[in-house]
Structures are given as C-alpha cells and as structure tokens.
Amino acid sequence: MTALILNYFRENSGRFWGMLAAHVQVSILSLGIAVLIGVPAGFLCVRWKKAQKYITGLFSVLRVIPSLAILLLMVPIMGTGTAPAVVALVLLAVPPILMNTVAGLEGVPPFMLETAEGVGMNPTQVWTKVRFPLAMPMILTGIKTAAVEIVASATLASKIGAGGLGDIIFAGIGLFKTELLLIGGMSVALLSLLTGLIFAIIEKSTMKHRTV
C-alpha cells in the first residue's frame, strides 16, 4: 500500500498539488464570502430585533438541509463548476457564523455597554471599540466551525465539478483503488486539522487578555 501511495505521488504530484490548491481556494473563497454575509447579518439581528426572527429563521432552515443536497440542488440552478459549489458552501457556512455573532454580541454584559456610553463613547464607538471586540472570541469560534465544515464539504463539491481533493476520493471509489481513497481522505483530514490549528493561533494572538 505504501508503495502504491508513493508511486501515486511520483507520477501525479503535479495534479495532487493542483487539486489541493483548488480545494483550498474554493474553501477560502467560500469562507470569506460567508464571513462577509454572516457577521453583518448577525449585527443586523442584534441591532434591529425585528430582523432577527426572519434572518435566523431563514438560516436555521437552511442549516437543516444536508450539505450534499444543497450542492446537488445548485446544479439545476447554476449548472456545474466552481460557482455553484461556492454558493452551496457559503449557504452552509453562514449559519454558524451568524449564530455565533448574535450570541457573542448579545453576551456582552449590559453594564459594559453602559460604561462605554458613560465614559462618552458615541454609539458607533460602543460597537467598534467594545461590543465587537468582546464578542470576537465567539465570532471566531463560529468562523472556525464554518471553516472546518467548508473544508469537509468542499470534498463533496467535486461531485458538481468544482475540483479539489474530492476528485481523488471519487476516482478512488470509481476505480476501486484504496490508495486513492487513503490519499484523498487523509489529505482532507489533515487540511481540517490544519484549519483548526490556524484558528487556534489566530485566537491566541488576538485574545491576549484571556490567556493571561
């Protein structure tokens, strides 16, 4: 088996790195868009209570739909390729980011906001200097959850032609080659672990006051 795996890398290392790059690219793009949607949407939910019911309702429904179903549902709407995969992954990733943003912002104690107002911060400063920084650990946790989910689900995205490490796995299933399953599976697993690690480092560097 080791020989087969080594052989694969000898002959296909270019393709492998290409697929890995595609996987990472799709993941980062999806995560970026999901953050750009989820965090502002979470802010809107907290800022305008009325919006919360509709926005969180919409995304908690979306969250129930399995990732594979969302991916496949994209095909009749957008066809195949990277774009529908990214849309599907964004839909998957927004709920954890949104929910954690809401929970984080609402978890800031009222007396903290009152102190911020009391010392003379204007409403914008209360949000940017106190409320968001204090909610940041929760928001980061949401982004981390979303990132790991994206890396895993991006594997399925190869089903609709988005490329990535899923190509190796599905080729392995199709050709009944165990070494391809191992290579694809391990790569995705390592990538997920790496993602978790990167976020742990980000958390640590931005949350100095909590680790002391």
Partner: protein, 255 residues
Amino acid sequence: MAVAIEFREVTKTFKGASYSAVNHVSLTVNEGEFITILGSSGCGKTTLLKMINRLYEPDSGSIILFGEDISTVDVVKVRRRIGYVIQQIGLFPHYTVGENIATVPKLLGWEKAKIAARVDELLDLVGLEPKEFRDRYPAQLSGGQQQRIGLARALAIDPKIMLMDEPFGAIDSITREKLQDELLNLHREMGKTILFVTHDIEEAFKLGDRVIIMNEGTVRQFDTPEAIIRQPADPFVQSLVDSAKAKEAFWREYL
C-alpha cells in the same frame, strides 16, 4: 459658591411601572461638595444619578449642570465632562490598564506622550505603581485594584463632576475602608463635585458633606450627617438612623 448640579421638578417613570422611580425631585448641589445618596434598592437613587449623565432621560423637569440645561447639550459631550464609576467597575477586559485609563483621552485625540504621562500620573494618584500596572490586563488585578483603575479612568480628563454608583459595593470591608479614606483625600485635594450612591448608611455618613436620603422616588431629607442624626425629618429617616444606632450598640457590647 457656584451651583454645580440642579434638579428642577425631575420625574422619571419606567415603562410598565405603576410608580415613579424618581418623583418630582428638586435639589441643588454646590461646586466641590461631596454628596452621598442613601436609600434601599429600588428607591430611585441610581436612576437619579444616571439622569445626570443622560443614561436615562427624565420624563419631565430639567437638570442643570453649571447653569446649562443638559437636555440642550449633545449627550456625548455631557458624558465626557463627567466621571462615571459603577459597582461592576466595567473595565474593558480587552484593554490593558493603561489603555483603559486612556479611553477618553484617546477619544478626544490627545497626543500619545500626553496620554502616557497622564496615565502614569493617574496611576500614582490612585496608589498603583505605573511601571508595574500599566501593561497588565484587568483580569490580573484584585477587585480593589480594579476599582482604583475604574476611578483613574473616570478622572482621566479631569471632569468637574464625578458620579459614583456604589463603587465599593462589591469590595471586602477592609479594602473598602481604605478606598473610602483615599477617596476623601482625593476629594479634599481636587475639590471635585462628587455624587456617590450607596445603600450603606455608615458609608453615606462617613463620606458625605451632605447626604440625600431617598425613599420611593422622593427625597426625604437632604442635609449634613449631623443634622440628619440630630433631627430626622420623618419616620423613614428616623428608622434608618435607629438601625445604624442599633448596629453600633451591637458592637459596643463586645468592646
């Protein structure tokens, strides 16, 4: 003596409440006075305080600071003229001690060197070694130290008026005693007008030049501690004074 704070027929009723938290209160505080506001929880003392920096807005009546009706001044400007200290302290946990103290000077765009000098000066003032404490985070400090920082932050831009809402309420009695003495010293040195809310009668009488006694949204008596003890204005004040005397008698038995 100039008038620092004036309440004119101020009333505040919270939504859904059947009674007024503050009910037609009129009173005058002179510049440089240390005023304590005493009452049990729910008597309206905190509401009275928070209307001064417009965290609450009165339903009717007006509040005048140094001759200026605060409802006509930009709310952020009003707050930046007033130091504010609360029981929960409310230090920003993601800021260092130095950054916490520098909050308002930074909002006002002071130069870095001026801010740094002011931070060290204030740390000295509240009895904490600047070098040792400047770069710590609030989580690394004891409750008493945190409240010293809270006080330093409130003093940062040298406001004429300080509002303090049970600042020592959550601090052990030995440290509290010490902080009370230091606050009295600070007041003597700086001559600020201080409004200090407490439910502790000993604290109120020890600190206040004059004491406001509140019950059910109204001011029952506003006088010097001595005058209140000698001549309680009504049965409520009488019962407060009696309870303090009873406590005193309890201790005397063991002396």
